[in-house]
């Protein structure tokens, strides 16, 4: 177990036009480990995720990423092209809606292979082989390679999105409500898949969700957010079974009722 974090947020605050979406957030992300972030809608989870991924500039604080060679990068100080390189090669981002993360009119195979193409792979046969491989990994029929992705169901589209984000073999994966809007059995399949991939491929995963059952299943560590602040973080089962902060107790209690 490597004890240097892959990514660290240090006192990150994001303000937009007077509102503070996240305030003084510090957390660490490690290889092979899933960090869950929970909280009600509007708690600042997605803003924080976008900030970690470099897409939102923090008003205060820093986010540091250690690359494969062990060099640290303060990601918000990077040039646009350096950041693009990281977010294409080292990171993946799975959006809540497949339409934010996919190009609906092109084929499933095209969607999966595109990130590789942007990373410089141009051989048609390799791109197709990679697309086939990753479609199979997310338990989709590789024979549907050439079907436009808009002809797939919601759960299948989420799996295409996951495949698209795995094809470059990222070291860090950001997931924003990856199972929102899917029915329960499809959710279970997708979650199980993410769990397996995280442990087998040793990727670090930051998972944002409002669903406590999802984090209980997937996350090693958990942070609870409320009104932009992390009110509690720790080992997942500890936070859920013996929540300390008043808000965490409320969150867990309302989960039990539903």
């Amino acid at each position: 177990m490597d004890d240097r974090p892959l990514m660290s947020a240090d006192s990150v605050t994001c303000r937009f036009r007077g509102t503070t979406a996240c305030r003084d957030v510090s957390l660490d992300v490690y290889a092979g480990e899933v960090l869950g972030i929970v909280g009600e809608s509007g708690a600042g989870k997605s803003t924080l995720l976008h900030c970690l991924a470099g897409a939102v500039q923090p008003s205060e604080g820093t986010v540091t990423y250690a690359d494969a060679k062990g060099h640290d990068h303060a990601i918000h100080g990077l040039s646009e092209s350096a950041l693009r390189q990281l977010s294409r090669g080292d990171w993946g981002f799975v959006h809540q809606s497949p339409y934010d993360g996919l190009r609906p009119h092109i084929s499933a195979g095209g969607n999966v292979a595109e990130p590789l193409l942007r990373c410089g792979e141009t051989r048609y046969a390799s791109l197709r082989a990679a697309a086939r491989h990753w479609l199979a990994e997310v338990e989709l029929d590789p024979e549907r390679l050439d079907d436009p992705v808009r002809t797939f169901s919601g759960g299948m589209q989420q799996r295409v999105q996951l495949a698209r984000n795995l094809v470059t073999q990222p070291r860090l994966l950001f997931l924003d409500e990856p199972t929102g809007g899917l029915d329960v059995s499809v959710q279970a399949r997708l979650l199980d898949l993410i769990r397996q991939l995280a442990s087998e491929l040793e990727v670090a995963v930051v998972l944002v969700t409002h669903d406590l059952a999802v984090v209980r299943l997937l996350a090693h560590r958990l942070a609870v957010m409320r009104q932009g602040e992390v009110v509690e973080q720790g080992v997942t089962d500890q936070v859920l079974d013996d929540p300390q902060a008043p808000y965490s107790q409320l969150l867990v209690a309302s989960e039990l009722r539903s």
Binding site: R195, D242, Q244
Partner: protein
């Protein structure tokens, strides 16, 4: 002379229920005990005296407000009451097993893979882990046709044995067990006791709650009385 594997010193646990006008429930007051390699210590006391709570605190599933929980983890002492989450996870992966009363696992994963999982987490090769899982399930008399199924449709006793198999498979040096034979018939109870005794002979330090006399007689060397050992204020 056996080695101490776990030492609990002056442990206090209370729950502050913020949704109940910050009601404060004191459950553990000044618990101190130690468990040696190859020894089994039983927690005894009436319902509600905090036996399960104590085990959960030791596993860092609950947070103790005061005291130390020292565990011998790869040659050094770790205080679980102070350890960072990453350290807690590492201790759980290599040193400390916990057989809870109920199985709580991922859906869709086969029983065999669930049982192999603690070994896989230690980096044991998949085929080795699976064959050890098969042997474990065999010894615990879980019918072979069930091995490829997820356990969510299993009977209570079957789930309990899956849980025990997961707890025993990795040969953790320290093991916490909460009523491991509660929902089992005589034959299955004997099979479970046999496996746990074997772990004990192999040097595992065991701290457990055992509701039946068979189990206590077969396994336990000493008893920690939850009521007698703590100041009167806490008991029931």
């Amino acid at each position: 002379m056996a080695l101490p594997m776990m030492a609990v010193e002056g442990l206090h646990k209370n729950f502050t229920l913020h949704r109940r006008e910050r009601l404060n429930l004191s459950v553990l007051t000044d618990v101190s005990l130690s468990v040696y390699a190859g020894e089994c210590l039983a927690l005894s006391g009436p319902s509600g005296t905090g036996k399960s709570t104590l085990l959960r605190c030791l596993y860092s599933n609950y947070i103790a407000q005061q005291g130390r929980i020292l565990l011998r983890h790869s040659g050094e002492w770790v205080d679980m009451a102070q350890a960072k989450p990453r350290k807690i996870l590492a201790v759980r992966r290599y040193t400390l097993g916990y057989i809870s009363q109920f199985l709580r696992v991922a859906p869709r994963v086969s029983t065999l893979d669930l049982v192999a999982e603690p070994l896989r987490a230690q980096g044991v090769a998949p085929n080795v882990a699976r064959s050890r899982a098969e042997r474990m399930l065999q010894r615990l008399r879980l019918p072979e046709p069930l091995w490829s199924l997820p356990p969510d449709t299993f009977s209570g006793g079957e789930q309990q044995r899956v849980n025990i198999a997961r707890g025993l498979i990795a040969g953790f040096p320290v093991l916490l067990v909460d009523e491991p034979t509660a929902s089992l018939d005589a034959d299955n109870r004997a099979a479970v006791l046999d496996c746990v005794s074997e772990a004990k002979r192999a040097g595992t330090a065991i701290l457990g709650i055992f509701h039946d006399d068979d189990a206590r007689q077969a396994l336990c060397d000493r008893t920690y009385d939850m009521v007698a050992a703590q100041p009167a204020s806490c008991a029931g």
